[in-house]
């Protein structure tokens, strides 16, 4: 009987090669090609990165289309290096925050702030830091670029993972304790799977945002050090310097191909796969789909490989790591409160000291008037962000609702909106700049739309998602009551999509602040365009290697973002969750 059951469960011995079932089919071939390509790409890219620094000087970026695939590959590899680093960071830091109250006290607020800090402002310090760390090597610059991408994704990934760990269902936690799962096994059987959908969605969103930063961080000038890493970003920088519009177009097309491949080969399969970890006890009506994932599951040899990976995962999960069982007694330690207070004090003292150092650092060159100027600049940029988000909302909310209420259309448009959100808008900047220059438009006004060029899509696809999820019975009821158009928007639709809209607008606003650093300064050949604002303030200071002003600019911008989040978005989000969440 046991033998029959074994086969029924489909659990054959590991990689038991043999039997008719194992003849490879078409799907296996397709996947094999994809994987082989990935391996080759990785091997090639890795060799290039390890090349000595002199090569950088010998072989500058050339606008030869034959080089483009190689550059695209390098850009993509940076992306993956960053995502790997972010994942490691997430597992370590978020787990620490969830398990230790003391760590939580520091990590959670830190993550919260770091999420709001303009990442590109960091670039100055990190480039210098990493160049010094690996003197004379390309590796330093690579690390700086990877770090820039890392800082754009790690925080919200860690935050999502931490929140999942804190909300593990109590009955499953009880089961784990009851059956005495070791902490390591519990992590792999309960915590990691439970957190998977949230983490994967966040990772994929971060990665979409990351393309913007990889392009921005490849070519950067700090004082007299100019770093141009081989990649699409550097290609673009050279094209701009050469006023080569063809090269810009080629970069745009290449980027489109890269993003499309990323979207189809990685994003969708992973989201479709992660669906099985969704914590719900009933089968969902609409599940995320991906043709690559379907291929993967249909291929026979590939399925064996999956089983093999699962087996390895299984082996990892029973490794005797973290042998220490949780304390047998469930009572909390008595000394907890006192040491908490001491810990809080230590943290406070340390941060006071840090503040003191910052003041010392900036005071030597900066006065109150500089602070005033920075704040004024900040207000200008704030005005831009507010106006642009309002305009983008006015355009995309009606369109999003219109699309979202038509399910067939929504399933087609939604991937497009997600694709557009992932597409690095800064690749398109030169085209806009050419237009502004040739039409002689006012850069203070016309450079601004670039800030929302890439981020407006977050509003669109969140609104589409919200409108798609709008319950049919409520729509029917409002139709029956013949609500007037304005009434329909105010009483029915807007409240219904508000939680989604707030999520989208929050993401878009954060992204726009970040984009201001690249969008408020633009050049075409020797022509420089500048919009007055905090973004150009930081960008100018970076170029002049004026570190105190960079710090000041970043601090002011972070404060503004945090204040906006606390005063506007969070209350709005809470209101939306409490009053308008449609279960």
């Amino acid at each position: 009987m046991a033998q029959r059951d074994l086969q029924k469960v489909g659990r054959t011995p590991l990689l038991g090669l043999g039997g008719a079932e194992l003849r490879p089919n078409v799907y296996d071939l397709a996947i094999f090609v994809l994987i082989a390509a990935a391996f080759v790409a990785m091997a090639y890219g890795a060799r290039e990165i390890a090349a000595p620094a002199s090569k950088l000087a010998v072989e500058p970026i050339t606008l030869d289309p034959a080089n483009l695939p190689g550059y695209a590959l390098r850009t993509t590899l940076r992306m993956f290096a960053a995502i790997a680093a972010s994942l490691v960071f997430t597992f370590v830091v978020a787990t620490l925050a969830a398990k230790s109250r003391k760590a939580e006290l520091v990590i959670v607020p830190a993550l919260d702030i770091l999420q709001s800090v303009p990442v590109l402002g960091f670039l100055t310090f990190t480039v210098v830091f990493f160049l010094r760390l690996f003197p004379g090597s390309e590796l330093g610059a690579e690390c700086a670029a990877v770090f820039a991408i890392f800082t754009s994704q790690a925080w919200n990934m860690a935050f999502s993972f931490y929140q999942s760990l804190r909300t593990v269902p109590s009955d499953l936690d009880e089961v784990s304790r009851h059956f005495q799962l070791s902490p390591w096994l519990k992590f792999w059987r309960l915590e990691a799977p439970f957190a998977a959908p949230g983490l994967i969605w966040n990772t994929m969103m971060s990665m979409s945002g990351g393309w913007f930063f990889v392009v921005a961080s490849e070519a950067i000038t700090v004082g007299d050090t100019t770093v141009k890493l081989p990649g699409i970003g550097s290609w673009l920088a050279v094209a701009i310097a050469d006023k080569n519009i063809m090269a810009v177009v080629q970069a745009v097309l290449t980027m489109a191909v890269v993003i499309l491949a990323y979207d189809q080969l990685l994003f969708r399969p992973i989201v479709a796969w992660a669906d099985k970890f969704r914590f719900e006890q009933t089968a969902a009506q609409q599940r995320p789909r991906s043709w690559v994932y379907d291929l993967w599951r249909r291929g026979r040899v590939v399925r064996r490989l999956t089983l093999a990976t699962a087996w390895i995962g299984r082996m990892i999960s029973i490794l005797p790591i973290g042998l220490a069982r949780p304390a047998r007694r469930v009572a909390p330690p008595a000394s907890g409160r006192v040491s908490d207070i001491i810990w809080r004090l230590v943290v406070l003292v340390l941060s006071a000291y840090a503040l003191w150092r910052i003041v010392l650092f900036t005071r030597s060159t900066l006065g109150w008037s500089d602070v005033r100027i920075a704040i004024e600049m900040g207000l200008l940029t704030l005005a831009r962000v507010v106006v642009l988000i309002a305009v983008a909302s006015a355009i995309w909310v009606p369109i999003g609702v219109w699309i979202g209420l038509r399910p067939r259309l929504a399933t087609r448009v939604q991937p497009l909106a997600q694709f557009l959100a992932a597409f690095p808008a800064n690749v398109l900047f030169p085209i806009a700049v050419v237009l502004i220059v040739s039409l002689q438009l006012n850069p203070d006004i016309w450079l601004s739309p670039l800030m929302v060029l890439g981020t407006q899509w977050y509003i669109l696809f969140n609104v589409i998602a919200g409108a798609s999820a709008f319950p049919t019975d409520l729509r029917e009821a409002s139709t029956l009551f013949r609500l007037r158009t304005w009434q329909w928007w105010r009483k029915v639709v807007i409240p219904g999509i508000l939680p989604y809209y707030v999520t989208g607008a929050l993401t878009a606003t954060g992204g726009s602040w970040n984009a201001s650093i690249v969008a408020e300064v633009a050049s075409w050949g020797s022509t420089k365009l500048k919009a007055v604002g905090l973004g150009s303030y930081i960008a100018d200071a970076t170029e002049a290697a004026d570190y105190p002003r960079v710090v000041l600019g970043i601090v002011v911008m972070s404060v503004m973002v945090v204040v906006c989040n606390r005063l506007v978005w969070r209350p709005l989000y809470r209101l939306a969750e409490r009053r308008f969440r449609l279960a």
Binding site: A2, D5, G10, R11, L172, E174, Q180, R189, R278, Q281
Partner: protein, 443 residues
């Protein structure tokens, strides 16, 4: 069968008890004031080869006691021994079945069943053999590779049962295992479990079942331990000598159910009506029952065949209410003097009979009179609102007052109950958004 390897325990009543609970108390720390006493000095013993039910209403600490025995919760005082060894953490000899099933949605049925063995580092081959045997025993064969979300509630609880049995526990703890299932599914599962038990096909020597369903307790157990609420105390031990399989329609069975209803609604002579509820004055803990439900029950009692006087079990049957649904309503009616509850019976008072006859507006007026007369907290809120010039007061003010004498949870519940009654009777108004009580009624 593979389960033949499991330890079989011969029925021996004379040996030392399997589980001894010795003067266990459980306190939960509270925001302010004294700690909340959940279990007060509970002692009991569980012998091999018996099914024992812990019967009580929600909040009587029966689930806490179960978790203390399982080693998931520590007691504040007293001790628990299993097989002579003191429990100081999750015990090997015990396995538990959860009310919510508590299955891992991302693991297949087989993997869910294997999880306990995996934690014990049982080799994979043996693990699978034992898991498949347990799955087979519990009637789940064919579903090994299914995921929980593909299964119905009854099937899911079978997985929970298989997962518990596969580790070969001596003691099976069941925390309201059938209460999340529909009536028919629950009955099937009960019968199947009893069959397995009576045929001695399960590798366990005792079952401890927590339930708030009186019939379930009488149907399944050899002994029923009845708990009182707030704090949880063991008030009665009732041996059930009816032969298995038991018939719900058997007069002896009905009599036993009636007796337990009577026991659970008995009012100590010294306490006035409403005193089944803990607390006094404004901190009287009011059950959270909607006015509609109160009216509904009054109508049901007033109607044929009861004509104002009903036997609680007879009332509960057709209404499909378990004691956790029925008792709070009955108690609320008693508190408002719309009904008298005693000896397992409910009898409408004159006010209750009148209420049923009235039209909606007059009902509200009568209800308001009773709320103001018999619910001290409602009087208090009204008085405060009358005294203030603005005729408004924040809910937090009253919540803080309540929390001086009860836990946050109960304070919230009591305040919500009184708020809902006050709104229905139009005694006062309440704005959910701002959390403010006021006297103005929106016109």
């Amino acid at each position: 069968m593979d389960l033949a390897t499991a330890p079989k325990v011969a029925p021996r009543a004379d040996v030392a008890p399997l589980v001894v609970v010795d003067h266990v108390r459980k306190l939960y720390p509270k925001g302010s004031g004294d700690d909340l006493l959940v279990l007060d000095d509970v002692s009991l013993a569980l012998r091999s080869n018996e099914i024992v039910s812990l019967l009580g209403r929600s909040g009587c600490g029966k689930s806490s006691l179960l978790r203390i025995i399982a080693g998931l919760l520590s007691s504040s005082d007293g001790r628990v021994t299993i097989g002579g060894r003191e429990v100081d953490g999750p015990a090997e000899e015990v396995a538990m079945v959860f009310q919510t099933f508590a299955l891992f949605p991302w693991l297949s049925v087989l993997e869910n069943v294997e999880i306990g063995l995996e934690a014990q580092k049982v080799p994979p081959a043996e693990r699978q053999k034992r898991a498949l045997a347990a799955i087979d025993l519990i009637g789940l064969d064919g579903y090994e590779s299914a995921y929980p979300k593909e299964l119905s509630g009854g099937m899911r609880q079978r997985v929970g049962l298989a997962r518990a049995l596969v580790v070969h526990p001596k003691l099976l703890l069941m925390d309201e295992p059938f209460s999340a299932l529909d009536v028919l599914t629950a009955e099937t599962l009960r019968t199947d479990l009893l069959d397995l038990w009576n045929e001695r096909r399960m590798p366990i020597s005792s079952i401890l079942l927590v339930t708030h369903n009186i019939e379930e307790a009488v149907l399944m157990s050899d002994r029923i331990l009845v708990f009182s609420s707030n704090p949880g105390r063991l008030v009665a031990e009732i041996p059930v000598h009816l032969p298995m399989p038991r018939n719900r329609l058997d007069p002896a069975f009905r009599q036993m159910v009636d007796d337990i209803y009577a026991l659970m609604t008995a009012r100590p002579v010294s306490r006035p009506a409403g005193a089944n509820l803990p607390g006094s004055g404004i901190s009287l803990q009011v059950p959270r029952v909607s006015p509609n439900l109160l009216a509904g029950l009054m109508e049901a009692v007033a109607a044929e065949p009861f004509n104002g006087h009903a036997d609680l079990p007879a009332l509960a049957g057709p209404l499909q209410m378990e004691i956790d649904d029925l008792f709070p309503v009955a108690e609320a009616l008693q508190l408002l003097r719309f009904a008298e509850v005693a000896e397992g019976d409910i009898r409408l008072t004159d006010a209750g009979r009148r209420f049923v006859q009235l039209d909606p507006d007059d009902r509200k007026r009568l209800f308001a009179q009773h709320v103001m007369a018999f619910v001290p907290l409602a009087q208090h809120i009204k008085r405060v609102l009358d005294d203030r010039d603005a005729h408004a007061a924040p809910a937090s003010r009253f919540r803080d007052e309540l929390e001086d004498s009860m836990s946050e949870d109960y304070a919230e519940r009591t305040l919500r109950a009184v708020t809902s009654w006050g709104r229905y009777g139009e005694v006062f108004a309440y704005d959910e958004g701002t959390g403010v009580f006021s006297l103005d009624n929106p016109s």
